[in-house]
Symmetry: C2
Subunit: 171 residues, 2 copies
């Protein structure tokens, strides 16, 4: 079965969760799944369940959430590049049926990973592997190469009542 390249982008909610949902479906058919989370240092609620389900999860992000390109540190760059190298190995290993690179699109916006590097990852993707790339700001070269692109568009959003994220929902 041919594996495709899927992109979930846009300013709306549901990009990372859509990729997590794909994992559930894939595991139902005993697929091998790998998740590489870029830009995220702190584990979220899903990690516990992913581990319980035997999914390999790795995080390539610093402690602090990056809001602006000016905030990017040398360490952030180092971690992202290490993540990129790691993911390259994972793809070349041909061990996984489904590979999710969460927030990798965003990392191009912060110049942590280049669009060409993402294209290289697509190039080395095993034919049968499904590759999911999530995050805002997906470069247009990546859209051109992807098989499926969904834009999550924010139509309406609640205010957080002073809290950034809610346990069990956003984290």
């Amino acid at each position: 079965m041919k594996g495709y390249v899927q992109v979930y982008t846009g300013n709306g909610k549901g990009k990372t969760t859509a990729s997590l949902g794909l994992i559930m479906r894939a595991l139902g058919h005993d697929f091998k799944v790998y998740v590489g989370q870029f830009m995220k240092g702190t584990p979220k609620g899903e990690i516990k369940i992913l581990k319980k389900l035997g999914v390999s999860v790795e995080r390539f992000g610093g402690e602090n959430f990056i809001f602006k390109p000016e905030q990017v540190t040398v360490l952030d760059r180092k971690i992202a590049k290490e993540g990129y190298k790691r993911v390259e190995k994972i793809l070349l290993s041909k061990k996984y049926d489904l590979i999710i690179l969460d927030e990798i699109n965003v990392s191009t916006f912060f110049n942590l990973i280049t669009p060409e590097e993402i294209l290289h990852l697509i190039d080395i993707k095993p034919k049968e592997t499904e590759l999911i790339l999530t995050g805002r700001y997906v470069p247009k070269e990546v859209i051109e190469r992807a098989d499926l692109v969904t834009e999550m568009k924010e139509i309406k959003h609640y205010y957080y009542d002073g809290v950034m994220t809610r346990k069990g929902i956003e984290r």
Copy 2:
């Protein structure tokens, strides 16, 4: 913690999977989760994993996939109404932290459930419960009442090479 009403709609991929991903996050915090799947008679790959994770899942759909309103049978209507009654009970039970009503929006398009009935379900939602409504064709009254609405917009889609769905990815 206040629970919100979230809607995932639009013609793009990722609506149901986004709701499944929310489950993973919620379970990571030991939330109680209920999933009611409208319009779907045949179980997909995710069911196996949801059951393994202790999530209550029920399906309120006939055997055949409905493409056009003309195809709707008396049985489809009966199953949808029973589903609606069941979900009403589930909401009133106050047992669940996260309730997902998958494809319930679509069921209004096929006149299986009315927009007013969905509004009623929102009305009886326990304050702390997060309610997720997925599917295309969400009625505008529901958008008005929802706290968060994301439109999944199809930007690019692969052709299925003659197959409707792929095991482990679409089903």
